[in-house]
Symmetry: C2
Subunit: 314 residues, 2 copies
Protein backbone atom coordinates (compact mmCIF):
# COMPACT_ATOMS: atom_id res chain seq x y z
CA UNK A 1 0.00 0.00 0.00
CA UNK A 2 1.27 3.48 -0.88
CA UNK A 3 2.87 5.32 2.01
CA UNK A 4 1.00 8.61 2.24
CA UNK A 5 1.57 9.70 5.82
CA UNK A 6 3.90 9.96 8.77
CA UNK A 7 3.19 10.58 12.44
CA UNK A 8 5.02 13.33 14.35
CA UNK A 9 5.12 13.35 18.16
CA UNK A 10 6.35 16.43 20.03
CA UNK A 11 7.02 15.26 23.56
CA UNK A 12 7.32 18.15 25.99
CA UNK A 13 7.41 18.55 29.75
CA UNK A 14 3.98 20.22 29.73
CA UNK A 15 2.21 18.96 26.62
CA UNK A 16 2.31 16.22 23.99
CA UNK A 17 1.46 17.31 20.45
CA UNK A 18 0.85 14.51 17.97
CA UNK A 19 -0.16 14.78 14.32
CA UNK A 20 -0.78 12.68 11.26
CA UNK A 21 0.94 14.56 8.45
CA UNK A 22 1.11 13.91 4.72
CA UNK A 23 4.43 13.92 2.88
CA UNK A 24 4.02 17.61 1.98
CA UNK A 25 3.61 18.62 5.62
CA UNK A 26 -0.16 19.06 5.67
CA UNK A 27 -1.66 18.11 9.02
CA UNK A 28 -4.51 15.60 8.56
CA UNK A 29 -5.31 14.88 12.23
CA UNK A 30 -3.81 16.37 15.35
CA UNK A 31 -4.21 16.22 19.09
CA UNK A 32 -2.65 17.94 22.06
CA UNK A 33 -2.84 16.62 25.62
CA UNK A 34 -1.20 17.41 28.94
CA UNK A 35 1.92 15.37 29.68
CA UNK A 36 1.32 15.11 33.43
CA UNK A 37 4.89 13.99 33.86
CA UNK A 38 4.37 13.30 37.59
CA UNK A 39 2.32 10.21 36.71
CA UNK A 40 5.52 8.36 35.77
CA UNK A 41 7.04 6.80 32.69
CA UNK A 42 4.48 4.08 31.95
CA UNK A 43 1.58 6.54 32.20
CA UNK A 44 3.29 9.04 29.89
CA UNK A 45 4.23 6.31 27.40
CA UNK A 46 0.59 5.19 27.34
CA UNK A 47 -0.50 8.77 26.74
CA UNK A 48 1.83 8.94 23.75
CA UNK A 49 0.44 5.67 22.37
CA UNK A 50 -3.10 6.98 22.87
CA UNK A 51 -2.35 10.16 20.91
CA UNK A 52 -0.94 8.08 18.06
CA UNK A 53 -4.06 5.86 18.08
CA UNK A 54 -6.20 8.98 17.95
CA UNK A 55 -4.51 10.58 14.95
CA UNK A 56 -4.42 7.22 13.13
CA UNK A 57 -8.16 6.95 13.66
CA UNK A 58 -9.40 6.80 10.05
CA UNK A 59 -6.16 5.69 8.39
CA UNK A 60 -4.77 2.28 7.50
CA UNK A 61 -1.47 1.81 9.37
CA UNK A 62 -0.01 0.43 6.12
CA UNK A 63 -0.26 3.93 4.67
CA UNK A 64 2.08 5.24 7.39
CA UNK A 65 5.75 5.38 6.36
CA UNK A 66 7.26 6.15 9.76
CA UNK A 67 6.84 7.75 13.17
CA UNK A 68 9.09 10.57 14.38
CA UNK A 69 9.51 11.70 18.00
CA UNK A 70 11.03 14.95 19.20
CA UNK A 71 12.07 15.06 22.86
CA UNK A 72 14.17 17.25 25.11
CA UNK A 73 17.61 15.74 25.68
CA UNK A 74 20.12 14.41 26.33
CA UNK A 75 19.16 11.43 24.20
CA UNK A 76 20.89 8.36 22.86
CA UNK A 77 19.40 8.72 19.41
CA UNK A 78 21.01 5.61 17.96
CA UNK A 79 19.49 3.36 20.60
CA UNK A 80 16.21 5.24 20.93
CA UNK A 81 16.82 6.25 24.56
CA UNK A 82 15.80 9.29 26.51
CA UNK A 83 18.86 9.41 28.77
CA UNK A 84 17.50 12.01 31.12
CA UNK A 85 15.47 15.20 30.99
CA UNK A 86 14.53 17.50 33.87
CA UNK A 87 10.79 17.79 33.04
CA UNK A 88 9.92 14.24 32.01
CA UNK A 89 9.86 11.02 34.04
CA UNK A 90 12.07 9.07 31.59
CA UNK A 91 15.53 7.96 32.61
CA UNK A 92 17.52 5.75 30.23
CA UNK A 93 14.12 4.86 28.83
CA UNK A 94 13.72 3.29 25.39
CA UNK A 95 10.91 5.34 23.90
CA UNK A 96 11.34 4.01 20.36
CA UNK A 97 10.99 0.28 20.97
CA UNK A 98 7.43 0.12 22.39
CA UNK A 99 6.13 2.45 19.67
CA UNK A 100 7.88 0.58 16.89
CA UNK A 101 6.61 -2.74 18.22
CA UNK A 102 3.00 -1.62 18.65
CA UNK A 103 2.62 -0.17 15.15
CA UNK A 104 5.30 -2.17 13.31
CA UNK A 105 6.45 1.02 11.62
CA UNK A 106 10.01 2.50 11.55
CA UNK A 107 10.29 4.92 14.47
CA UNK A 108 12.91 7.65 14.94
CA UNK A 109 13.92 9.90 17.82
CA UNK A 110 15.79 13.21 17.89
CA UNK A 111 16.12 16.17 20.22
CA UNK A 112 13.74 19.11 20.10
CA UNK A 113 16.23 21.57 18.57
CA UNK A 114 17.13 19.20 15.72
CA UNK A 115 13.50 18.34 15.12
CA UNK A 116 12.50 22.02 14.98
CA UNK A 117 15.39 22.62 12.56
CA UNK A 118 14.11 19.85 10.29
CA UNK A 119 10.56 21.23 10.52
CA UNK A 120 11.57 24.73 9.40
CA UNK A 121 13.79 23.24 6.70
CA UNK A 122 11.15 20.98 5.18
CA UNK A 123 7.90 22.83 5.84
CA UNK A 124 8.72 26.29 7.18
CA UNK A 125 10.87 29.34 6.46
CA UNK A 126 13.85 27.30 5.26
CA UNK A 127 12.03 25.41 2.49
CA UNK A 128 14.22 25.25 -0.62
CA UNK A 129 17.54 26.03 1.09
CA UNK A 130 20.61 23.77 1.01
CA UNK A 131 22.45 25.18 4.04
CA UNK A 132 20.30 26.53 6.84
CA UNK A 133 20.82 27.23 10.53
CA UNK A 134 17.94 27.39 12.99
CA UNK A 135 18.50 29.56 16.05
CA UNK A 136 16.01 29.39 18.89
CA UNK A 137 16.09 32.04 21.61
CA UNK A 138 13.82 31.74 24.63
CA UNK A 139 15.00 30.78 28.13
CA UNK A 140 18.24 29.67 26.50
CA UNK A 141 19.75 29.91 23.03
CA UNK A 142 20.11 26.74 20.95
CA UNK A 143 19.92 25.59 17.40
CA UNK A 144 20.48 23.11 14.65
CA UNK A 145 22.02 23.10 11.19
CA UNK A 146 21.19 21.68 7.80
CA UNK A 147 24.33 21.16 5.72
CA UNK A 148 23.99 20.21 2.07
CA UNK A 149 20.38 19.28 2.69
CA UNK A 150 21.05 17.06 5.70
CA UNK A 151 20.81 17.50 9.45
CA UNK A 152 24.28 18.00 10.93
CA UNK A 153 24.58 16.35 14.34
CA UNK A 154 28.31 16.59 15.09
CA UNK A 155 30.48 13.74 16.31
CA UNK A 156 28.75 13.19 19.65
CA UNK A 157 25.31 14.52 18.66
CA UNK A 158 25.93 17.87 20.35
CA UNK A 159 26.62 20.21 17.44
CA UNK A 160 25.15 23.72 17.42
CA UNK A 161 25.50 24.43 21.13
CA UNK A 162 25.55 27.98 19.85
CA UNK A 163 24.21 29.60 23.02
CA UNK A 164 27.52 28.72 24.63
CA UNK A 165 29.77 30.52 22.18
CA UNK A 166 31.70 33.15 24.11
CA UNK A 167 30.82 36.59 22.80
CA UNK A 168 32.28 38.61 25.66
CA UNK A 169 35.25 37.24 27.58
CA UNK A 170 34.74 38.01 31.26
CA UNK A 171 30.99 38.56 30.78
CA UNK A 172 28.27 37.25 33.11
CA UNK A 173 28.49 33.66 34.34
CA UNK A 174 26.31 31.23 32.35
CA UNK A 175 24.47 28.16 33.66
CA UNK A 176 27.05 26.05 31.80
CA UNK A 177 29.88 27.40 33.99
CA UNK A 178 31.45 29.53 31.26
CA UNK A 179 31.51 33.35 31.30
CA UNK A 180 30.17 35.62 28.57
CA UNK A 181 28.18 33.02 26.60
CA UNK A 182 25.64 34.44 24.17
CA UNK A 183 22.99 32.73 26.30
CA UNK A 184 24.05 34.63 29.44
CA UNK A 185 23.80 37.94 27.55
CA UNK A 186 21.18 37.56 24.84
CA UNK A 187 18.49 35.09 25.99
CA UNK A 188 15.10 35.66 27.61
CA UNK A 189 16.72 34.72 30.91
CA UNK A 190 19.39 37.40 30.43
CA UNK A 191 16.72 40.02 29.71
CA UNK A 192 14.82 39.00 32.87
CA UNK A 193 17.97 39.06 34.99
CA UNK A 194 18.96 42.55 33.88
CA UNK A 195 15.38 43.81 34.28
CA UNK A 196 15.26 42.60 37.85
CA UNK A 197 18.61 44.24 38.55
CA UNK A 198 17.11 47.51 37.26
CA UNK A 199 13.98 47.06 39.39
CA UNK A 200 16.15 46.60 42.47
CA UNK A 201 18.34 49.63 41.64
CA UNK A 202 17.44 53.32 41.87
CA UNK A 203 16.80 53.51 38.12
CA UNK A 204 13.61 55.27 37.02
CA UNK A 205 11.62 52.67 35.06
CA UNK A 206 8.03 51.56 34.59
CA UNK A 207 9.28 48.00 35.10
CA UNK A 208 8.90 48.76 38.82
CA UNK A 209 5.10 48.82 38.37
CA UNK A 210 5.00 45.02 37.96
CA UNK A 211 5.05 42.54 40.83
CA UNK A 212 7.05 40.17 38.62
CA UNK A 213 9.18 41.08 35.64
CA UNK A 214 10.02 38.67 32.80
CA UNK A 215 11.24 39.31 29.24
CA UNK A 216 7.61 39.88 28.21
CA UNK A 217 7.23 42.97 30.42
CA UNK A 218 10.55 44.33 29.17
CA UNK A 219 9.36 44.05 25.56
CA UNK A 220 6.03 45.73 26.48
CA UNK A 221 7.60 48.64 28.38
CA UNK A 222 10.32 49.18 25.76
CA UNK A 223 7.58 49.43 23.16
CA UNK A 224 5.83 52.08 25.31
CA UNK A 225 9.06 54.08 25.44
CA UNK A 226 10.59 53.18 28.81
CA UNK A 227 14.27 54.03 28.42
CA UNK A 228 15.63 51.45 30.86
CA UNK A 229 13.57 48.64 29.31
CA UNK A 230 14.68 49.74 25.86
CA UNK A 231 18.33 49.80 26.85
CA UNK A 232 18.13 46.29 28.37
CA UNK A 233 16.40 44.96 25.29
CA UNK A 234 18.70 46.58 22.74
CA UNK A 235 21.73 45.33 24.61
CA UNK A 236 20.47 41.72 24.87
CA UNK A 237 19.32 41.60 21.25
CA UNK A 238 22.70 42.89 20.09
CA UNK A 239 24.32 39.87 21.77
CA UNK A 240 21.76 37.56 20.16
CA UNK A 241 22.66 39.29 16.90
CA UNK A 242 26.37 38.71 17.52
CA UNK A 243 25.67 35.00 18.04
CA UNK A 244 23.78 34.93 14.74
CA UNK A 245 26.56 36.87 12.98
CA UNK A 246 29.16 34.40 14.30
CA UNK A 247 27.05 31.55 12.90
CA UNK A 248 26.81 33.31 9.54
CA UNK A 249 30.60 33.84 9.36
CA UNK A 250 31.11 30.19 10.25
CA UNK A 251 28.49 28.38 8.17
CA UNK A 252 28.00 30.81 5.26
CA UNK A 253 24.43 29.49 4.97
CA UNK A 254 21.58 30.38 2.61
CA UNK A 255 19.40 31.29 5.55
CA UNK A 256 19.33 31.64 9.33
CA UNK A 257 15.86 31.05 10.78
CA UNK A 258 15.15 32.65 14.16
CA UNK A 259 12.60 30.99 16.43
CA UNK A 260 11.75 30.76 20.12
CA UNK A 261 9.83 33.13 22.38
CA UNK A 262 12.17 36.12 21.95
CA UNK A 263 11.40 36.42 18.22
CA UNK A 264 7.78 37.27 19.04
CA UNK A 265 8.93 40.47 20.76
CA UNK A 266 8.25 42.61 17.71
CA UNK A 267 10.11 43.97 14.69
CA UNK A 268 13.00 45.19 16.85
CA UNK A 269 14.22 41.59 17.23
CA UNK A 270 14.88 40.77 13.58
CA UNK A 271 15.96 44.35 12.84
CA UNK A 272 18.67 44.25 15.53
CA UNK A 273 19.87 40.79 14.46
CA UNK A 274 20.02 41.86 10.80
CA UNK A 275 21.98 44.98 11.75
CA UNK A 276 24.60 42.95 13.67
CA UNK A 277 24.94 40.51 10.77
CA UNK A 278 25.33 43.46 8.37
CA UNK A 279 28.00 45.03 10.61
CA UNK A 280 29.91 41.90 11.55
CA UNK A 281 29.90 39.56 8.56
CA UNK A 282 31.92 39.48 5.39
CA UNK A 283 29.97 41.20 2.62
CA UNK A 284 29.87 38.06 0.45
CA UNK A 285 28.28 36.17 3.35
CA UNK A 286 25.81 38.81 4.59
CA UNK A 287 24.64 39.73 1.09
CA UNK A 288 23.65 36.10 0.44
CA UNK A 289 22.37 34.88 3.82
CA UNK A 290 18.72 35.67 4.57
CA UNK A 291 17.60 36.14 8.18
CA UNK A 292 14.00 34.97 8.57
CA UNK A 293 11.50 34.46 11.36
CA UNK A 294 10.50 30.85 12.03
CA UNK A 295 7.11 30.01 10.51
CA UNK A 296 5.87 26.96 12.38
CA UNK A 297 5.64 28.40 15.92
CA UNK A 298 3.87 25.95 18.25
CA UNK A 299 3.67 23.33 15.49
CA UNK A 300 7.44 23.24 14.90
CA UNK A 301 7.85 20.24 17.20
CA UNK A 302 5.25 17.92 15.70
CA UNK A 303 5.89 19.00 12.10
CA UNK A 304 9.60 18.64 12.74
CA UNK A 305 9.09 15.14 14.15
CA UNK A 306 7.09 14.37 10.99
CA UNK A 307 9.96 15.80 8.89
CA UNK A 308 12.39 13.52 10.78
CA UNK A 309 10.21 10.52 9.94
CA UNK A 310 10.08 11.49 6.26
CA UNK A 311 13.80 12.19 5.92
CA UNK A 312 14.90 9.06 7.77
CA UNK A 313 12.80 6.78 5.58
CA UNK A 314 13.93 8.44 2.32
CA UNK B 1 47.03 2.78 -17.40
CA UNK B 2 46.64 2.67 -13.64
CA UNK B 3 46.38 6.08 -12.00
CA UNK B 4 49.10 6.14 -9.38
CA UNK B 5 49.77 9.83 -8.84
CA UNK B 6 48.39 13.33 -8.54
CA UNK B 7 50.13 16.69 -8.80
CA UNK B 8 49.69 19.31 -6.08
CA UNK B 9 50.51 22.98 -6.72
CA UNK B 10 50.72 25.45 -3.83
CA UNK B 11 50.62 28.87 -5.40
CA UNK B 12 51.77 31.59 -3.01
CA UNK B 13 52.72 35.23 -3.31
CA UNK B 14 56.38 34.43 -2.57
CA UNK B 15 56.90 30.82 -3.65
CA UNK B 16 55.36 28.07 -5.75
CA UNK B 17 55.60 24.55 -4.27
CA UNK B 18 54.76 21.72 -6.65
CA UNK B 19 54.86 17.99 -5.98
CA UNK B 20 54.11 14.68 -7.58
CA UNK B 21 52.36 12.68 -4.85
CA UNK B 22 51.11 9.12 -4.75
CA UNK B 23 47.60 8.29 -3.57
CA UNK B 24 48.85 7.70 0.00
CA UNK B 25 50.38 11.18 0.20
CA UNK B 26 54.03 10.19 -0.34
CA UNK B 27 55.95 12.87 -2.21
CA UNK B 28 57.76 11.35 -5.22
CA UNK B 29 59.17 14.53 -6.79
CA UNK B 30 58.99 18.11 -5.56
CA UNK B 31 60.21 21.55 -6.49
CA UNK B 32 59.97 25.02 -5.00
CA UNK B 33 60.65 28.21 -6.94
CA UNK B 34 60.15 31.92 -6.38
CA UNK B 35 56.87 33.29 -7.67
CA UNK B 36 58.27 36.66 -8.75
CA UNK B 37 54.74 37.98 -9.01
CA UNK B 38 55.89 41.30 -10.46
CA UNK B 39 56.70 39.55 -13.77
CA UNK B 40 52.98 39.37 -14.57
CA UNK B 41 50.38 36.68 -15.10
CA UNK B 42 51.78 34.97 -18.20
CA UNK B 43 55.23 34.64 -16.63
CA UNK B 44 53.81 33.20 -13.40
CA UNK B 45 51.56 30.80 -15.31
CA UNK B 46 54.61 29.58 -17.27
CA UNK B 47 56.51 29.10 -14.03
CA UNK B 48 53.66 26.91 -12.73
CA UNK B 49 53.67 24.85 -15.95
CA UNK B 50 57.45 24.47 -15.68
CA UNK B 51 57.21 23.16 -12.11
CA UNK B 52 54.60 20.61 -13.23
CA UNK B 53 56.85 19.52 -16.13
CA UNK B 54 59.71 19.14 -13.66
CA UNK B 55 57.87 16.91 -11.17
CA UNK B 56 56.37 14.84 -14.03
CA UNK B 57 59.90 14.25 -15.30
CA UNK B 58 60.12 10.44 -15.10
CA UNK B 59 56.40 9.65 -15.04
CA UNK B 60 53.91 8.83 -17.79
CA UNK B 61 51.18 11.50 -17.73
CA UNK B 62 48.63 8.68 -18.10
CA UNK B 63 49.51 7.60 -14.57
CA UNK B 64 48.39 10.99 -13.25
CA UNK B 65 44.78 11.06 -12.01
CA UNK B 66 44.43 14.81 -11.52
CA UNK B 67 46.11 18.11 -10.72
CA UNK B 68 45.13 20.22 -7.70
CA UNK B 69 45.94 23.90 -7.17
CA UNK B 70 45.77 25.82 -3.90
CA UNK B 71 45.72 29.60 -4.21
CA UNK B 72 44.96 32.58 -2.01
CA UNK B 73 41.45 33.92 -2.72
CA UNK B 74 38.93 35.13 -3.45
CA UNK B 75 38.44 32.51 -6.14
CA UNK B 76 35.62 31.40 -8.38
CA UNK B 77 36.27 27.71 -7.79
CA UNK B 78 33.53 26.45 -10.09
CA UNK B 79 34.92 28.31 -13.08
CA UNK B 80 38.59 27.90 -12.16
CA UNK B 81 39.19 31.63 -11.73
CA UNK B 82 41.49 33.54 -9.43
CA UNK B 83 39.24 36.56 -8.96
CA UNK B 84 41.83 38.70 -7.26
CA UNK B 85 44.58 38.35 -4.69
CA UNK B 86 46.85 41.07 -3.27
CA UNK B 87 50.17 39.25 -3.77
CA UNK B 88 49.70 37.64 -7.17
CA UNK B 89 49.32 39.22 -10.61
CA UNK B 90 46.12 37.30 -11.50
CA UNK B 91 42.84 39.16 -11.88
CA UNK B 92 39.79 37.19 -13.07
CA UNK B 93 42.34 34.80 -14.50
CA UNK B 94 41.42 31.24 -15.45
CA UNK B 95 44.25 29.25 -13.93
CA UNK B 96 42.61 25.85 -14.44
CA UNK B 97 42.02 25.93 -18.20
CA UNK B 98 45.61 26.26 -19.49
CA UNK B 99 46.83 23.54 -17.11
CA UNK B 100 43.99 21.18 -17.96
CA UNK B 101 44.54 21.74 -21.67
CA UNK B 102 48.29 21.26 -21.58
CA UNK B 103 48.21 17.96 -19.65
CA UNK B 104 44.72 16.75 -20.57
CA UNK B 105 44.16 15.79 -16.94
CA UNK B 106 41.26 16.89 -14.63
CA UNK B 107 42.41 20.02 -12.78
CA UNK B 108 40.88 21.50 -9.62
CA UNK B 109 41.29 24.78 -7.75
CA UNK B 110 40.55 25.73 -4.15
CA UNK B 111 41.66 28.37 -1.68
CA UNK B 112 44.69 27.88 0.55
CA UNK B 113 42.71 27.40 3.78
CA UNK B 114 40.49 24.69 2.26
CA UNK B 115 43.46 22.96 0.66
CA UNK B 116 45.43 22.96 3.94
CA UNK B 117 42.33 21.54 5.66
CA UNK B 118 42.16 18.71 3.12
CA UNK B 119 45.89 18.06 3.53
CA UNK B 120 45.69 17.68 7.32
CA UNK B 121 42.55 15.56 6.94
CA UNK B 122 43.97 13.11 4.41
CA UNK B 123 47.67 13.03 5.24
CA UNK B 124 48.24 14.90 8.51
CA UNK B 125 46.95 15.17 12.06
CA UNK B 126 43.30 14.66 11.07
CA UNK B 127 43.75 11.30 9.35
CA UNK B 128 40.92 8.95 10.33
CA UNK B 129 38.49 11.60 11.57
CA UNK B 130 34.99 12.15 10.21
CA UNK B 131 34.43 15.71 11.43
CA UNK B 132 37.50 17.93 11.67
CA UNK B 133 38.11 21.67 11.78
CA UNK B 134 41.43 23.19 10.76
CA UNK B 135 42.29 26.51 12.40
CA UNK B 136 45.25 28.48 11.10
CA UNK B 137 46.62 31.38 13.13
CA UNK B 138 49.37 33.57 11.73
CA UNK B 139 48.88 37.14 10.45
CA UNK B 140 45.16 36.39 10.49
CA UNK B 141 42.96 33.55 11.75
CA UNK B 142 41.20 31.33 9.22
CA UNK B 143 40.18 27.76 8.72
CA UNK B 144 38.26 25.04 7.01
CA UNK B 145 35.98 22.18 8.02
CA UNK B 146 35.51 18.56 7.09
CA UNK B 147 31.95 17.43 7.76
CA UNK B 148 31.07 13.76 7.45
CA UNK B 149 34.32 13.21 5.55
CA UNK B 150 33.80 16.02 3.06
CA UNK B 151 35.08 19.57 2.74
CA UNK B 152 32.37 22.02 3.76
CA UNK B 153 32.46 25.18 1.65
CA UNK B 154 29.25 26.98 2.65
CA UNK B 155 26.71 28.44 0.25
CA UNK B 156 28.99 31.08 -1.30
CA UNK B 157 32.32 29.28 -0.71
CA UNK B 158 33.13 31.45 2.31
CA UNK B 159 32.43 29.14 5.26
CA UNK B 160 34.80 29.07 8.25
CA UNK B 161 35.61 32.79 8.31
CA UNK B 162 36.27 32.00 11.94
CA UNK B 163 38.76 34.80 12.56
CA UNK B 164 35.83 37.17 12.23
CA UNK B 165 33.68 35.69 14.95
CA UNK B 166 33.10 38.37 17.58
CA UNK B 167 34.61 37.25 20.88
CA UNK B 168 34.54 40.65 22.63
CA UNK B 169 31.87 43.15 21.69
CA UNK B 170 33.46 46.60 21.63
CA UNK B 171 36.97 45.14 21.31
CA UNK B 172 39.69 46.42 18.95
CA UNK B 173 38.75 47.25 15.37
CA UNK B 174 39.57 44.45 12.90
CA UNK B 175 40.72 44.83 9.29
CA UNK B 176 37.27 43.57 8.25
CA UNK B 177 35.58 46.61 9.82
CA UNK B 178 34.05 44.71 12.75
CA UNK B 179 35.12 45.19 16.38
CA UNK B 180 36.34 42.46 18.72
CA UNK B 181 36.95 39.71 16.12
CA UNK B 182 39.12 36.82 17.31
CA UNK B 183 41.60 37.90 14.63
CA UNK B 184 41.94 41.40 16.10
CA UNK B 185 42.65 39.90 19.55
CA UNK B 186 44.32 36.53 19.04
CA UNK B 187 46.37 36.58 15.81
CA UNK B 188 50.08 37.21 15.20
CA UNK B 189 49.12 40.72 14.10
CA UNK B 190 47.30 41.33 17.39
CA UNK B 191 50.35 40.16 19.36
CA UNK B 192 52.58 42.49 17.32
CA UNK B 193 50.22 45.46 17.77
CA UNK B 194 50.04 45.05 21.54
CA UNK B 195 53.81 44.54 21.77
CA UNK B 196 54.45 47.78 19.93
CA UNK B 197 51.99 49.59 22.20
CA UNK B 198 54.02 48.29 25.16
CA UNK B 199 57.33 49.37 23.56
CA UNK B 200 55.94 52.88 23.09
CA UNK B 201 54.59 53.07 26.66
CA UNK B 202 56.53 53.45 29.89
CA UNK B 203 56.27 49.71 30.62
CA UNK B 204 59.47 47.92 31.71
CA UNK B 205 60.05 45.21 29.12
CA UNK B 206 62.93 43.61 27.24
CA UNK B 207 60.87 44.04 24.06
CA UNK B 208 62.36 47.56 24.01
CA UNK B 209 65.79 46.05 23.21
CA UNK B 210 64.68 45.19 19.66
CA UNK B 211 64.64 47.64 16.77
CA UNK B 212 61.55 45.86 15.43
CA UNK B 213 59.09 43.75 17.39
CA UNK B 214 56.92 41.02 15.83
CA UNK B 215 55.10 38.05 17.40
CA UNK B 216 58.37 36.09 17.23
CA UNK B 217 60.16 38.44 19.66
CA UNK B 218 57.17 38.36 22.02
CA UNK B 219 57.31 34.53 22.15
CA UNK B 220 61.09 34.66 22.73
CA UNK B 221 60.95 37.24 25.54
CA UNK B 222 57.94 35.60 27.21
CA UNK B 223 59.93 32.35 27.25
CA UNK B 224 62.82 34.19 28.94
CA UNK B 225 60.45 35.48 31.62
CA UNK B 226 59.61 39.01 30.51
CA UNK B 227 56.35 39.80 32.29
CA UNK B 228 54.95 42.23 29.73
CA UNK B 229 55.65 39.83 26.83
CA UNK B 230 54.09 37.01 28.80
CA UNK B 231 50.98 39.01 29.57
CA UNK B 232 50.53 40.00 25.92
CA UNK B 233 50.97 36.40 24.80
CA UNK B 234 48.68 34.82 27.38
CA UNK B 235 45.98 37.33 26.60
CA UNK B 236 46.17 36.81 22.82
CA UNK B 237 46.31 33.03 23.10
CA UNK B 238 43.26 33.04 25.36
CA UNK B 239 41.31 34.77 22.58
CA UNK B 240 42.61 32.25 20.05
CA UNK B 241 41.46 29.58 22.52
CA UNK B 242 38.02 31.18 22.77
CA UNK B 243 37.73 31.08 18.98
CA UNK B 244 38.65 27.38 19.05
CA UNK B 245 36.18 26.72 21.90
CA UNK B 246 33.41 28.45 19.95
CA UNK B 247 34.18 26.21 16.98
CA UNK B 248 34.08 23.13 19.22
CA UNK B 249 30.68 24.10 20.69
CA UNK B 250 29.36 24.69 17.19
CA UNK B 251 30.77 21.74 15.20
CA UNK B 252 31.20 19.11 17.92
CA UNK B 253 34.08 17.67 15.84
CA UNK B 254 36.38 14.70 16.42
CA UNK B 255 39.39 16.98 16.21
CA UNK B 256 40.47 20.59 15.82
CA UNK B 257 43.87 20.91 14.14
CA UNK B 258 45.82 24.09 14.86
CA UNK B 259 48.26 25.34 12.22
CA UNK B 260 49.90 28.57 11.11
CA UNK B 261 52.92 30.43 12.47
CA UNK B 262 51.51 31.03 15.97
CA UNK B 263 51.39 27.29 16.76
CA UNK B 264 55.19 27.13 16.52
CA UNK B 265 55.47 29.46 19.53
CA UNK B 266 55.96 26.59 21.99
CA UNK B 267 53.87 24.41 24.29
CA UNK B 268 52.08 27.43 25.76
CA UNK B 269 50.01 27.74 22.55
CA UNK B 270 48.28 24.36 22.62
CA UNK B 271 48.12 24.38 26.43
CA UNK B 272 46.25 27.69 26.50
CA UNK B 273 43.89 26.64 23.71
CA UNK B 274 43.13 23.33 25.44
CA UNK B 275 42.45 25.15 28.71
CA UNK B 276 39.94 27.50 27.08
CA UNK B 277 38.20 24.55 25.38
CA UNK B 278 38.10 22.72 28.72
CA UNK B 279 36.63 25.80 30.45
CA UNK B 280 34.19 26.89 27.78
CA UNK B 281 32.78 23.77 26.11
CA UNK B 282 30.11 21.35 27.12
CA UNK B 283 31.72 18.34 28.77
CA UNK B 284 30.40 15.87 26.18
CA UNK B 285 32.02 17.95 23.46
CA UNK B 286 35.37 18.72 25.12
CA UNK B 287 35.87 15.17 26.35
CA UNK B 288 35.57 13.86 22.78
CA UNK B 289 37.24 16.57 20.69
CA UNK B 290 41.03 16.33 20.39
CA UNK B 291 43.10 19.50 19.90
CA UNK B 292 46.19 18.69 17.82
CA UNK B 293 49.03 20.58 16.20
CA UNK B 294 49.10 20.54 12.39
CA UNK B 295 51.62 18.03 11.03
CA UNK B 296 52.32 19.13 7.48
CA UNK B 297 53.81 22.59 8.16
CA UNK B 298 55.33 24.04 4.96
CA UNK B 299 54.09 21.08 2.92
CA UNK B 300 50.43 21.58 3.87
CA UNK B 301 49.74 23.57 0.70
CA UNK B 302 51.14 21.15 -1.87
CA UNK B 303 49.96 18.02 -0.05
CA UNK B 304 46.57 19.66 0.41
CA UNK B 305 46.39 20.48 -3.29
CA UNK B 306 47.25 16.81 -3.96
CA UNK B 307 44.48 15.77 -1.52
CA UNK B 308 42.04 18.02 -3.41
CA UNK B 309 43.02 16.28 -6.66
CA UNK B 310 42.51 12.84 -5.10
CA UNK B 311 39.17 13.65 -3.45
CA UNK B 312 37.71 15.39 -6.48
CA UNK B 313 38.48 12.47 -8.77
CA UNK B 314 37.14 9.84 -6.38
Amino acid sequence: MEKKYVVGVDLGGTKIYTALVDLEGNVKNEIVIKTEADQGEVAVLNKILNTIDTVLNNVDINEVAAIGIGSPGPLDVENGLIVYTPNLPFKNFNIVKPIKEKYNVPTYLDNDANVATLGEFMFGAGKGTENMVFVTASTGIGGGAIINGKLFRGSTGNALEIGHMTVMKGGPRCGCGNDGCGESLGSGTAIMRRANEAVNSNAVTSLKDYSEVTAKEVFAEAEKGDRVANEILTNALSYLGITVANIANTFDPDMIVIGGGVVNGGDIVLETIKQEVENRCLRSISSHCRIEKAMLDGKAGMLGAAALAILETK
